[in-house]
Structures are given as structure tokens and as C-alpha cells.
């Protein structure tokens, strides 16, 4: 904070002709872009998910060669993670960073390059993955030319973000910005580290790592994609939008410091829990397990700070679909960050690994936590970005209920199927023989659960379709001209923060 007696070096000497106010504006157009991309790609990614959910119990739905389960599954995961959740965090970051820094984004051109570059990457993923152009490494399936494009666009984004921090007018960085910094730095390190490969053709490369090395690098990346693409930016989103929507300050500043640093430090170690009981060295697997269990506390620090921010405001849930969405999202965060450490315990993992239990776990994260936080943000943002009320509040509430029932059906079905199959694989009779020696018996048993999952997933998608209709009708009645919101700050207060922060220090 600039101290009252701090001289403000950038303020020019009193000048009659000069305004004593500095006027600037926020770039909200880029937020609208990212928000629209979020809902469109969300629907696409979930639609592919529904097709996959049909293909499992009903293989005739595999439309070969391009639309088989093996080729579409990476398309589904990439679309939901990088297109749906990705555009969502960018919308959140572009909206909140400008306000928290009291500054327009560093460069409008860079913002556009980031937006269109990212959409081009998504389109190229949607084309190449069904063509069978894939590295096979989970959540890093895209081949090297697209990997390079991702790196370039990410660097543009980083320069734009840090440039905005540099030109901020608010000396203090709010906790949401800490999480954004961690996101931008770590995703860059992970993406580059895991994608190093030797190209042999435009659509083919081999990783420079082999065997155990490749497995450890992949899950260092894979787990921390969850950590720094699906957790830290969403915590930043939560820290900005939840207090706004609840009109309450964040519960604990001290807790936010503790859980931020412990989360950032501990998460990176947890990758090997994806490789328990495999050929990776025992010490690495155990280290991964221990740090995963430790992760429970920093994760719940975030959940507690979120839920307790609503203290004294719980009555607002009755009327606010935004807060309803946030509460479900944060609750799912708490559940899946308890479940994650539990699944990392070796004896639990022995049962759960390779089964649908993991599928339940990732969907409670992606649909429960990322999805609902995204929807909460969208329901809060749209009236502000388009300057009109939602077309239908009832439809928004209906979205909340279809989404909630959908995700619950989904995860309960997959828990049942995962635990059932895991137990069947290891079932012995009294004579010491496998009860189900034929693998197919354990598959046939869980097919009813696949249909329940399809129902849950379809409900969830229907909620998103409702959101799109509601959004479309809302935009139609919005003013045609939406100028960027302008802000006027007294010139002294508007001194670029880097000067005042330095003097204050």
C-alpha cells in the first residue's frame, strides 16, 4: 500500500491544463470472447463424452475409423480440460486481473493473439486426434507442431499478464493473482518438460524419455496439469468471484497464505501416485503417496476459506444461483481433494487403479469443481458484461438442478462400477482359484452402471445446453453497443504501483 507520506514520483508538478484524474478502461470484450468459447467448447467436449458413454455399453456406436473410443477419448479429455476449463480460467483471469491491478491488459493485441491462438489450437486438436495423430501421453496427446503453438501462445499470455502486473495501479497483489502467477509459471514448465520429443514427421514424434523415465515425467506433468490447470486458476477464480457474489470478504487472509504456499510446494511431488505398484522405483512411488496424503490439508484450506467466506451470508443461497453453483463446486472440491489422497494410499490404490473409480474421481473434479465454478462465474459475469439481466432466472435454477443430479448420478454409477470390477478382479474361491478368470465377466457385470453414467452425463450436458439457450436469449436483448467500462482514479492514487511499492518497501 502506498503510505500517505510516500512521495509519488510520477505525478507531474501542478499543471493547470492537466486533469487531476487518470482515466482508463477495462477490456471486457476479451472476457466476452473467452466466456462464449467456454460454453461452446464445454458443450462440444461433453457431447463427445456422451458419445463415449454410449460406446462403452453399446460398441455399435463406434463409427470407425475416426470416431472410435480410442481416438475420441483424448479428444474428450483435451476438450474439457483445455477448451472448456481453459477458456473459463482465461475469462476469469482477464476479468479479474484488470480489476485487481486497476489497469487495462498490457496489450490488446496480445489478448487477441492469445484468444484466437488458443481457439486454433483447440480446432487443430479436434482435427488431429480423430485422425489418429497422437503422442499417446495422457492430456499431452497433441503432436509437436501443436505443442510448439501451445508454448508460443502461453508465452504471449504470460507476457500480457506480467505486463499488466508491471503496469498495475494497485500496489498490493490480491490472493487471486498469486494463484494466477503459479498457474502461468508451472504450466509452462510442465508443458515444455513433458513435450520434449524428437519429430520424425509433421504428425509423429518420439519422446526423448524412455520407459520409467517417460512414465515419471508424464505423471509429473499429468498430475500437475490437474494441479496447475484445474486447481490453482480455479482457486484464483474462487478468491475473486466468490467474495464478489457473496459480498463478504475472504474468511482468512492468513489461511490463504498458508494454503497457497503449501499447495504450490506440495502438489508437484504427488505425480508418482499414478504409478503405484508399477515398475517405477519403490521410493518414488512412496514419496508420491506421502506427499499426496499431505496435499489433503492445503486443499481443504482452500475449501474452508471458500465456504467460510459465506459466513453470515448463507441465506443468500436461496435467491442466488451464482452462490448455489459456487457452493456445490467448492463442496466437490473438498470431496475430490479428500478422495485424491485416499486413492493415493497404496492399499486403496491397489483396488481402485485401472478401474472406473478413477473416472468417477476425475469427473467429480472436472464436472463438480471446475464445471460448477465456471457456471457460477458465468451467471455472475453475464449481466455485468452484457449489461442486462438474464433472460430466464428459472432456467438458470434448472441448470443448477440438472447439473447437480447429473453429476451425482455419474459419480455414484462410476464408484459402483469401479469398486465392483476391482473386487471381481481379485476375487478368489475357497480352492484358491480366481472366481472370474475370464476378464469379460467383470465387464458384463458393470454395463448397467454404464447406462446410469450415460443418464447422468446427459443430464449434465442438458444443463449446459440450457445455459447456452439462456445466454443466447440474454445476448439478444442486450444493448448492441457495449463500450469498455471506464475508470477514473485520482492521479496520485493512479501512480503506477511499481514506484510506490518500491518506496514503501
Amino acid at each position: 500500500m502506498a503510505l500517505p507520506d510516500t512521495p509519488a514520483p510520477v505525478v507531474a508538478p501542478a499543471d493547470e491544463g492537466r486533469s487531476r484524474f487518470e482515466v482508463f478502461s477495462y477490456d471486457d470484450q476479451i472476457v466476452r470472447f473467452f466466456l462464449l468459447a467456454t460454453v461452446i467448447w464445454g458443450a462440444v467436449g461433453m457431447l463427445v463424452g456422451v458419445l463415449l458413454a454410449i460406446q462403452l455399453p453399446w460398441p455399435e456406436a463406434n463409427l470407425g475409423p475416426y470416431l472410435t473410443f480410442g481416438r475420441l477419448r483424448p479428444l474428450h479429455t483435451n476438450a474439457v480440460i483445455f477448451a472448456f476449463a481453459g477458456n473459463s480460467i482465461f475469462a476469469a483471469m482477464y476479468y479479474s486481473t484488470q480489476r485487481l491491478c486497476k489497469a487495462r491488459m498490457f496489450s490488446d493485441v496480445m489478448s487477441r493473439v492469445h484468444f484466437w491462438g488458443w481457439q486454433a489450437i483447440i480446432v487443430s486438436a479436434a482435427i488431429t486426434l480423430p485422425l489418429g495423430i497422437t503422442t499417446s501421453k495422457e492430456y499431452a496427446e497433441l503432436e509437436w507442431p501443436i505443442d510448439i503453438a501451445i508454448a508460443v501462445v502461453w508465452v504471449v499470455f504470460a507476457v500480457n499478464f506480467f505486463g499488466t502486473l508491471w503496469r498495475r495501479r494497485e500496489p498490493h497483489m490480491y490472493v487471486a493473482l498469486w494463484f494466477y502467477i503459479a498457474t502461468i509459471i508451472t504450466v509452462a514448465v510442465l508443458h515444455i518438460g513433458n513435450s520434449l520429443a524428437l519429430p520424425v514427421a509433421l504428425g509423429k514424434s518420439y519422446p526423448i524419455y524412455r520407459g520409467v523415465q517417460d512414465a515419471l515425467v508424464q505423471w509429473w506433468y499429468g498430475h500437475n496439469a490437474v494441479a496447475f490447470f484445474l486447481t490453482t486458476p480455479f482457486l484464483g477464480l474462487m478468491y475473486y468471484f466468490l467474495p464478489k457474489a457473496a459480498e463478504r470478504p475472504v474468511f482468512s487472509y492468513r489461511l490463504s497464505i498458508i494454503h497457497f504456499w503449501s499447495l504450490v510446494f506440495v502438489y508437484i511431488w504427488a505425480g508418482p501416485h499414478h504409478l503405484l505398484y508399477t515398475a517405477v522405483p519403490e521410493w518414488a512411488a512412496t514419496l508420491g503417496m506421502v506427499f499426496s496424503v499431505m496435499l489433503w490439508m492445503p486443499s481443504w484450506g482452500g475449501m474452508i476459506n471458500g465456504l467460510f467466506t459465506l459466513r453470515g451470508a448463507w441465506d443468500k443461497l436461496r435467491d442466488s444461483v451464482v452462490l448455489k453453483m459456487f457452493v456445490i463446486g467448492i463442496t466437490f472440491y473438498g470431496m475430490s481433494t479428500f478422495e485424491g489422497p485416499m486413492l493415493s494410499v497404496k492399499s486403496v490404490n491397489a483396488l481402485s487403479h485401472y478401474t472406473d473409480w478413477n473416472i468417477a474421481h476425475v469427473h467429480s473434479g472436472a464436472l463438480g469443481w471446475n464445471g460448477f465454478l465456471t457456471f457460477g462465474m458465468i451467471y455472475w459475469l453475464v449481466p455485468r458484461l452484457w449489461r442486462t439481466e438474464w433472460w430466464s432466472e428459472k432456467m438458470a435454477t434448472a441448470h443448477f438442478w440438472t447439473g447437480t443430479i447429473g453429476i451425482l448420478l455419474y459419480v455414484l454409477a462410476m464408484y459402483t462400477s469401479g469398486i465392483t470390477q476391482g473386487l471381481m478382479w481379485r476375487a478368489y474361491d475357497d480352492a484358491g482359484r480366481l472366481v472370474y478368470p475370464d476378464f469379460i465377466e467383470t465387464v458384463v457385470q458393470i454395463i448397467p452402471m454404464y447406462w446410469v453414467r450415460l443418464l447422468g452425463g446427459t443430464l449434465y450436458l442438458l444443463g449446459v445446453v440450457g445455459l447456452i439457450v439462456n445466454l443466447w436469449m440474454t445476448i439478444r436483448k442486450a444493448p448492441k453497443h457495449l463500450p469498455d467500462p471506464a475508470v477514473a482514479l485520482p492521479a496520485e492514487a493512479a501512480a503506477p504501483a511499481r514506484y510506490s511499492a518500491r518506496t514503501a518497501a
Binding site: 470407425g64 506480467f162 520409467v212 518414488a284 478368470p437 465387464v443
Partner: protein
């Protein structure tokens, strides 16, 4: 829940210290970077500096060029999304599939294909388990060999021509990455692949299968699948017994 409006807590001195770096984006960013690099370095340094994890098994030989082509088809079709290639040291898994997977037998695999989901059975020990013709029939129509299977059919593997143009470059890339292929292996990759394809196709025909598969993708896929676990089996004679978890 308290109904009083919360008041901001008094800033203590420890807050003050953190407050200060909250005004320094550069310092903050450096601290974050250090935080994430500690775990990264501690976990990776032994794996990359010590040879233990990447020393190949005595009986391990690199994939033949045709098997390599088959492996790339396995990757193209995304088989790894439903099939693991890593047996865990549990009695039921060993009974079902074979001995547990080891680091030494995957030392030449890039990318690794251990998988994370077993929608279908593990494949790391499938080599030699079935005749070639079984694999041809199974890929063409899974339920013909495995009734009630939910695996999609891959009939195009029997009709699409196997593209070998890239093969020398692919073998060369493996050589560059340190996998022991000789220059002769690179130069003779296409011929070696054709010879092996011919042998597989003849065997399929002799077992009563289609006669014209030598230049189709399916022979590469069969070659790859039939290789899985073979080197480990050759090694098994002098391997120590692993304690199994029941």
C-alpha cells in the same frame, strides 16, 4: 453462523512480511518457481542420474521395424486408452496375465504405454498367447473370438496398406534416442519389415485366414502384439522370484 459483519483482522508483523512480497511480482514469481522446482528436482535427479531405472534387461532387444510400425498403429488407434501394459505384483494379476512388469523390460519403450485404465485386459504378456489368426479375427470383429466383448471392431486394419515409407526415419529416431539400432538396421528397415510381414501373413493363411495380408496394417499390429512380454519370458529363467501381494 455469526450475524455480525466481519471486520478485517489486525495485520500482524508476520502478515507484514508476506504483505511486502505481495507488492513484488518478480520476487513472488521467483519464489513460486523455486517452490515447484524443489519437488521436481528431488524426484527426477535420481531417475536421470542413476542408471538403475533405465538399464535394459539382459534379454531385451529392440523392437523389429515391423513391430515398431505396429506399435505406432497401437498408438494411432489409442489402444492404450483401454488396455494397460503393466502387471502389478498382485497374485490375481500374475495369475491372470503373467509376471509383474519391470523397469528393465520397458527400457527401450518411447513413449511408455503402461496405460491408466483397464477397460479391457492387460496386454503386456499377450505375446504368444494366441495364434496370429486369432488376432486377425479379433481385430476384425472382437466378438468373433471374445463373445460379449465391448471392444470396437477394427476392420480397416485388414484393408489399409501398411505405410513403410517413414520406417527408416522412425528407426533412426530411436537410434538417436539411444536405443541400440545399428546403421544397418536403419538402412534395412523396410526389407526387414517386409520379410517379417510375409512370414506372419503366410502363417495366418496356413491357419485358414485371409491370404493377402502381407502388405496390410494388420500384420504390423499382430507382430507388435505377439512381441509383448516375450523378452521378459526369456529372462524369467534366471530372474529372482518376486514376492506377491495377495
Amino acid at each position: 453462523m455469526s450475524s455480525s459483519v466481519p471486520t478485517p483482522k489486525k495485520t500482524t508483523s508476520s502478515h507484514g512480511r508476506h504483505r511486502r512480497i505481495e507488492g513484488w511480482p518478480l520476487v513472488f514469481t521467483v519464489l513460486v518457481t523455486v517452490s515447484i522446482l524443489v519437488g521436481t528436482v528431488v524426484e527426477f535427479a535420481p531417475i536421470f542420474l542413476a542408471r538403475g531405472a533405465t538399464t535394459p534387461m539382459a534379454t531385451l532387444t529392440p523392437f523389429t521395424p515391423l513391430e515398431l510400425a505396429g506399435r505406432d498403429l497401437y498408438i494411432r488407434e489409442g489402444c492404450n486408452n483401454c488396455h494397460s501394459q503393466m502387471v502389478r505384483p498382485f497374485q490375481d494379476e500374475v495369475q491372470r496375465y503373467g509376471p509383474p512388469g519391470t523397469a528393465a523390460e520397458t527400457a527401450y519403450e518411447t513413449p511408455f504405454l503402461w496405460g491408466s485404465k483397464r477397460t479391457g485386459p492387460d496386454l503386456s504378456r499377450v505375446g504368444g498367447k494366441y495364434p496370429h489368426l486369432w488376432h486377425v479375427r479379433h481385430m476384425e470383429e472382437p466378438v468373433s473370438t471374445s463373445p460379449r466383448s465391448i471392444m470396437p471392431p477394427y476392420p480397416w486394419l485388414l484393408t489399409r496398406r501398411l505405410d513403410l515409407d517413414d520406417l527408416p526415419r522412425r528407426v533412426r529416431a530411436h537410434q538417436t534416442l539411444g536405443i541400440p539400432y545399428s546403421d544397418a538396421d536403419v538402412a534395412g528397415a523396410v526389407d526387414a519389415a517386409r520379410t517379417q510381414a510375409q512370414a506372419i501373413a503366410q502363417e495366418v493363411a496356413s491357419q485358414g485366414g485371409p491370404a493377402d495380408l502381407a502388405d496390410r496394417e494388420i500384420v504390423a499390429m499382430v507382430a507388435f502384439l505377439q512381441r509383448l512380454g516375450v523378452d521378459a519370458r526369456a529372462n524369467a529363467a534366471n530372474a529372482p522370484t518376486t514376492a506377491l501381494v495377495r
